[in-house]
């Protein structure tokens, strides 16, 4: 078994990976727009981790004496129709947003990776069938497909996450397939095969690690869409259910009081906007950072 380590450059790419990640981060921090994206994401993570400390009120406790209060020193972003503090609810809502991001990533990544790697590695009929299936899923806008899945599964946050994942894997599979096609003829794969490694082993040990970086980057690029879809499902009442402080659902309930109490819809919307803008700007920066044409010019 020691022989394989000589041929498969597995140990080295791991280090290179970390190195290039640091390089990319440095590049991103230098570009003002992507730096903004990084800052917003940092705030989101901090808010999610420390919200019990940061939130001045309990996000679920109602105060019927003090409903629809405009922003003040006691309630930075005002209170909603049940007297709950909107600022605290937004802070706790960041946990839901992060949960969605995390769960979608760990569901979509493996599905997309395995479909793409298997299709790309075997080629031929397997490839044709799997890519055909991928194309069918790609022929719907992601929100419509998620709507269909949630309609069948029933409205809840978990089902929304499943639905979003089911509609988000095809682009990842496409990418993993393309990556696999470029490396499947490589010498170290041929060597592993000659040593009698099974296809499953080759895919798992040699192909998947090579696809991982670009898949992770692509997942970041798609995160803005995921967040907007989740918020859209929440808004339609198909995602997180009340009284959960999900931002899209908060906008949906605030809609009825919108004309007189603008703060009910404005602040949750700004939260969604800034997080999805952050991901979009980061993605834009990442694309530039990884585009070899761009790198040389700088």
């Amino acid at each position: 078994m020691t022989d394989t380590t000589l041929i498969t450059p597995r140990a080295k790419p791991h280090l290179e990976w970390l190195y290039s990640l640091l390089n990319i981060l440095r590049y991103l921090a230098r570009t003002p727009t992507s730096a903004f994206g990084l800052v917003v994401l940092a705030i989101l993570i901090l808010a999610a981790v420390f919200c019990p400390l940061l939130a001045p009120h309990d996000p679920y406790v109602q105060d019927l004496q003090n409903t629809l209060a405009p922003p003040s020193n006691a309630h930075f972003f005002g209170t909603d129709e049940l007297g709950r503090d909107i600022y605290s609810r937004l802070l706790y809502g960041s946990r839901i947003t992060l949960t969605i991001i995390f769960l979608v990533t760990i569901v979509v990544g493996p599905i997309g990776l395995s479909v793409g790697a298997v299709a790309g590695y075997f080629g031929g009929r397997v490839d044709m069938v799997m890519m055909r299936i991928t194309d069918i899923f790609l022929s719907f806008p992601s929100l419509i497909l998620s709507l269909a899945f949630v309609a069948a599964l029933g409205p809840s946050l978990n089902n929304a996450i499943i639905a979003i994942s089911l509609s988000a894997w095809p682009p990842i599979a496409r990418l993993a397939r393309a990556e696999t096609m470029t490396i499947r003829k490589a010498d170290y794969i041929a060597a592993a095969r000659l040593q009698g490694a099974s296809p499953a082993r080759i895919i798992w040990r040699s192909v998947v690690p090579m696809c991982l970086p670009s898949v992770l980057i692509r997942l970041t690029l798609n995160m803005a869409t995921v967040i907007l879809t989740a918020a859209g499902l929440g808004f339609l009442g198909l995602g997180a259910q009340p009284p959960m402080p999900e931002w899209g659902a908060m906008i949906a309930t605030g809609r009825r009081y919108m004309i007189d109490s603008w703060w009910l819809v404005t602040f949750p919307g700004l939260a969604i906007l800034s997080v999805s803008l952050a991901f979009n700007l980061l993605g834009d920066g990442l694309r530039d950072a990884l585009d070899p044409k761009q790198m040389n010019r700088r």
Binding site: I136, G237, L238, R255, G269, L277, N280
Partner: protein
């Protein structure tokens, strides 16, 4: 028959085959989501407090007691006959319902794509010309902003500002309440119908109502168009003929619009066609906010009462529209690009 002809026919046959397979896949997908997933279509029809006999009767009538493959064949047979069943809420055939509401959405989406392309293409060209300068950065943030906004929220804020506070535009719906039913429905495109009937009051009201949702929808699609225009344009600007044109003494403006832009027109048509399809997604959400009686509202209202049959037909139709748009953009590309002939 020349070899060239034969090759072209071969290509068409191949494409027709691939479209056929994709359509078949769409049908399998909508069938699987509609029947196998854990919701109860019978319950949606008979209601919560139906007796056991009624339930069983409907269950058998819908063919749920048959094996799955037989049910799928029945579904296929219905689809081939354009029979998509009856919507629970309206009691009308689903297809009739959809054909009735679709023009409202197409009107909205068409208006929106004009805004999106009108905004995105010039911005993309400007960003390419001013690459890496502050204008480029500003355009990038501006267009990504449109792409990052939750469209249902932008719609509400837009209503709050431009309708409730400033009163510049009309509120919800396609026109003012008291004009409804005044114009004979010929095409169901309100702007066209009212113009045909010479009802300019109604036309103005309709225009007032469509401007805000369509502009917001267009703004949200502008990001994609801007980004693609910018990168197409950058490919052209770096080529030698642009330098030659500049050396010959043409102004920047002339070089860009008379030479470089002409070369990216074909690619832009493709992009705009694809962006048009993506608008359908935003339409679902913005129609809810603006009470726009279109396809999106039809879809969501059926979703909320659990009429899977109607929902899946909507999903199927969106899929077909997407395939058609892909095909159209492919055909346009072939039509306009002499190299593909």
């Amino acid at each position: 028959m020349t070899i060239d002809h034969r090759r072209r026919i071969g290509h068409v046959a191949e494409q027709a085959g691939s479209i056929f397979i994709t359509l078949f896949g769409l049908l399998i997908l909508t069938f699987v989501i509609g029947r196998i997933m854990p919701n109860d279509p019978v319950r949606a029809i008979v209601g919560e407090d139906a007796t056991r006999e009624v339930y069983e009767n409907v269950y058998r009538q819908l063919g749920f007691d048959r094996p799955m493959w037989e049910q799928f064949l029945m579904y296929l047979r219905d689809v081939v006959h354009f029979d998509f069943g009856t919507a629970i809420r309206t009691g009308q055939p689903v297809l009739n319902d959809i054909l009735r509401v679709l023009p409202a959405t197409i009107e909205l989406a068409t208006f929106a794509i004009i805004v999106g392309a009108g905004l995105g293409i010039p911005l993309g060209v400007a960003a390419a010309v001013k690459k890496d300068k502050w204008q480029d950065q500003l355009i990038r943030v501006f267009s990504l902003m449109g792409h990052s906004m939750p469209i249902f929220w932008t719609g509400m804020i837009g209503l709050l500002i431009f309708y409730a506070s400033l009163g510049w535009v009309g509120g919800s719906g396609r026109m003012s309440q008291f004009y409804i039913g005044l114009v004979p429905e010929r095409t169901n495109f309100l702007l066209i119908d009212s113009a045909l009937a010479g009802e300019w009051e109604v036309f103005r009201s309709a225009l007032n109502h469509i401007v805000l949702p369509a502009s917001l929808l267009g703004y949200s699609s502008a990001a994609y168009i801007t980004r693609m225009t910018r990168s197409f344009m950058l490919d052209q600007i770096n080529q030698e003929y642009v330098t030659t044109a500049r050396v010959k003494g043409l102004s920047t403006r002339e070089t860009i619009w008379r030479h470089a832009f002409v070369n990216i027109r074909v690619q832009l048509v493709t992009i705009v066609a694809l962006a048009y399809g993506a608008l359908l997604e935003g339409a679902v959400l913005i129609e809810t906010v603006f009470a726009w009686p279109g396809f999106g509202q039809y879809l969501t209202s059926n979703l909320l009462i659990g009429d899977m049959n109607a929902v899946m037909t909507c999903v199927l139709i969106v899929g077909v529209i997407f395939i058609a748009l892909n095909l159209i953009s492919d055909l346009l590309y072939r039509l306009f690009d002499p190299r593909t002939r």
